[in-house]
């Protein structure tokens, strides 16, 4: 059984990875999950300097999902390189660093700083809906997206993954734009912009008013977008959005995702990713496939 997949020349032992922001830098969950079994660990978004994030409440539960407005709290690239990277390097898994910023320069600073580090791939979050200044604009406007991708690509030593926002009219166009800008891979979906209201307090449930919707409730939208994008670009696609069971994972692979990321499901069951990885292997066996690559994009 061969479960290896290759993303921009980087070989992952299997397609399963964490979704950025739901798994910290891997350390906290390493008590529960054997990181060596993951295709990759995708870390929480990191910026050039520390970010405080939003006020609380930062999350709210919704039917089959949740809203979050963490606001990209992160320790900045220095602490990240000093503390989190050395921790991750202990494990036999690929390291994908998620990068956030408020300006193109912010992104470039982080990307340049990571150039000399043993990081396998960079995931550029141009789509976080919770950052007021910048961020969202990049991911929703093709022109901005093209520019930021080009600039980052210019300085990046590792292959770059552009993480797309689903809050757009035409996701395929955005993916093609990222490809045109030099992206080596696209990942999607980030969260859908949502809201919850506390009817007794008569105010927003999140301090930030709006937040990003994730979890199994959004899976059909994510799957549709991944399918659309996989059929629109030639670079590989990392699919995510509501993946909770191995069946969900297989759906994304069939739709054309080369890698699959698991986010909110970790909160419900820290061992989700391991179960998903094992389930996919079982599925391949049952369906008589020797190679996970054989099912990627099978449903056209």
């Amino acid at each position: 059984m061969n479960t290896k997949v290759s993303i921009a020349g980087v070989e992952l032992k299997n397609p399963v990875m964490s979704a950025s922001g739901t798994f910290g830098s891997g350390e906290e969950y390493s008590e529960f999950v054997d990181l060596n079994q993951l295709g990759a660990v995708v870390t929480k978004g990191v910026a050039n300097v520390p970010w405080e994030g939003n006020p609380t409440p930062r999350i709210a539960e919704t039917r089959s999902g949740m809203l979050n407005a963490i606001g990209l709290q992160n320790p900045g690239i220095d602490v990240f390189c000093k503390r989190d990277l050395p921790f991750l390097k202990q494990f036999d898994t690929k390291i994908i660093v998620n990068v956030c910023g408020r300006t193109t320069k912010d992104y470039m600073e982080v990307v340049e700083r990571l150039g000399d580090e043993a990081v396998d791939l960079l995931e550029i979050n141009v789509s976080c809906p919770n950052v007021k200044h910048g961020g969202i604009a990049f991911g929703q406007d093709p022109k901005c997206l093209l520019e930021v991708t080009r600039e980052i690509k210019r300085v990046a030593k590792q292959p770059i993954i552009i993480k797309l926002s689903p809050n757009v009219t035409d996701i395929a166009e955005m993916a093609k734009t990222a490809e045109a800008g030099g992206a080596d891979c696209v990942s999607l979906i980030n969260t859908l912009l949502g809201m919850k209201i506390d009817i007794y307090k008569q105010s927003f449930s999140l301090a930030n008013r709006t937040g990003g919707l994730s979890g199994p409730g959004i899976k059909p939208v994510a799957l549709r977008m991944v399918h659309q994008v996989a059929n629109a670009v030639t670079i590989p696609v990392i699919g995510m959005g509501g993946i909770t069971s191995w069946e969900d994972g297989v759906e994304f692979l069939l739709a054309g995702a080369t890698g699959i990321a698991v986010g909110t499901a970790n909160f419900n069951d820290p061992t989700s990713m391991i179960k998903i990885k094992n389930g996919i292997e079982e599925y391949l066996k049952t369906m008589n496939f020797d190679n996970v690559a054989d099912i990627i994009g099978l449903v056209k």
Partner: protein, 258 residues
């Protein structure tokens, strides 16, 4: 790896006051490693409700691997409502123990202050402490856990409606009963915690430990949902945001702002 979600068996459950449920479950991991002030994440099993419900350890009975949780049903369509329907033999998924817990090694006399559903953790705390415990409990109206608490310390009561003990707040009860001590532990609604902090300042009490509450997603420190403002930079992000689920839920009153 070392830790994972556990499927716990319900040993018993009863409603001990309106909407307050007293649940005993069998848990290897929590009874082996848990201590006062820590909490467990409970999962509802309903597939539309994904997030854990953090509930404090109320009592541990290691002899029978039994964990006691006392919780309030917060409404009709809630996870706690689902929990409240469980009966002996049912199964529930839990993750824990989580968080730091109270420092139980302090030998001085202490006042253990619990407000409403903040009372349950005081039981295990009183049990684990070596020093003398004055337990001050604040209720809206009807009381609960009284007999259990009385086994481990002197108990004072405050009720909003005056139906039992002092009419008023936990602080009124402390004053009413002339209780004095060098250490304070408190768990309860934010206004109560604020008042306790004020009281400590006035009285010059330095050792003050508060158990905070915040919405949680992971419960293990990974998602940064549950932060509170801290005086010192936090260990994770170095931005004065401590995680209630990891660095807490128990903080020194002087290190957090709320």
């Amino acid at each position: 790896m070392k830790r994972k979600k556990e499927i716990a068996k319900v040993l018993s459950q009863k409603e001990i006051a309106k909407d307050i449920f007293d649940l005993w479950i069998e848990s290897q991991s929590v009874t082996a490693d848990g201590k006062a002030g820590q909490f467990v994440s409970l999962y509802t099993g309903d597939e539309s409700r994904l997030l854990p419900r953090p509930i404090s350890i109320c009592e541990i009975d290691s002899d029978r691997n039994a964990l006691r949780l006392v919780y309030r049903v917060t409404g009709e369509h809630t996870g706690t409502k689902i929990f409240s329907k469980m009966t002996e033999g049912d199964e529930i998924e839990i993750l824990g123990p989580l968080g730091n817990g109270f420092d139980t090694s302090i030998p001085e006399d202490a006042i253990l202050i619990g407000g409403g559903i903040g009372i349950p953790p005081m039981l295990e705390l009183a049990k684990e402490r070596s020093g003398k415990s004055y337990i001050v409990t604040g209720f809206k109206d009807s009381t609960f856990l009284m007999e259990d608490l009385q086994r481990w310390g002197e108990v004072a009561i405050a009720t909003e409606d005056g139906s039992a003990g002092t009419k008023g707040t936990v602080l009124d009860a402390i004053r009413d009963n002339g209780i004095k001590a060098d250490v304070l532990y408190a768990c309860g609604p934010t206004p109560m915690l604020k008042a306790v902090k004020e009281y400590a300042k006035e009285e010059g009490i330095e050792k003050v430990y508060l158990s905070l509450e915040e919405k949680m997603a992971c419960g293990v420190g990974a998602c940064l949902a549950c932060v509170c403002k801290s005086k010192e930079v936090d260990s994770h992000t170095h931005v004065k945001n401590k995680r209630v689920c990891k660095e807490g839920p128990v903080f020194s009153a002087w290190e957090v702002e709320f």
